[in-house]
């Protein structure tokens, strides 16, 4: 759904590398170069970024299209 904060196997911080990685891959760069460049070295951490499917935007669409309802009287 959203990129995990750390690598499942070794615990390296990978969450902060997702946005630059996904942008570069979307721009046509080879994932190998993008991974090397964001400083992800081991294959345990590389698969974290490589195999991630970011679904949160698809789910957010339902919330973006929704009319903001006044539930708590705050908005």
């Amino acid at each position: 759904m959203i990129i995990p904060v750390r690598c499942f196997s070794c615990g390296k911080l990978v969450g902060d590398k997702w946005e630059s990685f996904s942008k570069r891959v979307a721009a046509g760069e080879h994932p190998k170069e993008a991974l090397d460049d964001v400083g992800v070295e081991r294959y345990c951490c590389r698969r974290m970024l490589l195999s991630h499917v970011d679904l949160i935007d698809d789910i957010l669409e339902f919330h973006e299209k929704r009319e903001v309802v006044d539930i708590r009287g705050e908005r």
């Binding site: 959203i2 070794c10 615990g11 911080l13 997702w18 973006e64």
Partner: protein, 342 residues
Amino acid sequence: MELVSRGAGGVAGLSGSGGDMVLKVEVLSVDDDRVRFLLGGVDVAFTNALRRTLIMDVPCMVIDDIFFFDNSSVVPDENLAHRIGFVPLRTDLDRYALPGDCDCGSELGCEKCRVVLTLDVAAETETRTVYSGDFVSEDPAVVPVSPSIPLTKIAPGQAVRLEAYARLGTGKEHAKWQPVSTAVYQHVAEIEVDEDRCTDCAECVKACPRNVFAMEEGKLRVVDVNLCTICGECEKACPVDPTAVRARPLDDLFLLTVESTGCLEPARLVAEAVRILSVKLDEFAGKVERGETEDVIDVYAVAEVEKARLARGSIEDVGGDDEDAVSDVGAEDEGDVDSDVE
């Protein structure tokens, strides 16, 4: 860098090597989050103890308790709390105490053993990502190591408001407190090239997956012995029989790689691990001297008693025990509350 350490001599003595050993430390490379160094004059037991101490016993700070005031994002409270718990924080080991060592005795800690961070983010007109950098810490030295870790995304009208309590802990308790992402050692190789038999055919240069060898002016040369993983490909490739090149692991020289999650400098992590390990060894040596090495609780006896209790299967017995236990805990709790109020 070479130093003689009485501590290391003692450690080696424990594992049976004995005598005054010369501990050799040579730092190969250091950068922001990683240190590679050679450790000589110690055995596998000591090196592995150092590695395990780095993983399990060196404390660092992460968020442990979270109070949600608002979370209308698509990530539920428990998932968001789990994500936030894994955000590594820059740690100040000198200023803060482990909650167990702090004299406050409070569940949520005091200013000597915890840091409060707050997160107050709302999306007004556009969808936005909530980053680790949105945290406001009461101690500017204790902040997330990276400000760009996505925690959740919020659509217009959604908000995340929470108060988070960070405290020191160790990897033994939960992996989020593990200060290293990698702490590994490998045996350093000893590569022997028999000049008389070597034909300088360069077969081993081609076979080596780590590029340990090179040909220089027609002669075989070992470029960097620290790259060798002792895979044996060079020996297999060597056409001479017996082989002219031999790679063997040294049993008292190790190459350690320590990669920090960013909470502490890697050199500090290693220094802290050595300190913790030596404290533990001193404790152990003291127990040996006082003859306190035998287990106070005989685990087998406890298991036998438990087995007998289960075999009896008496509901009244079990119920009676539980009731007692509950009322005891209750009484203690009330006492605590009273003393807190006072």
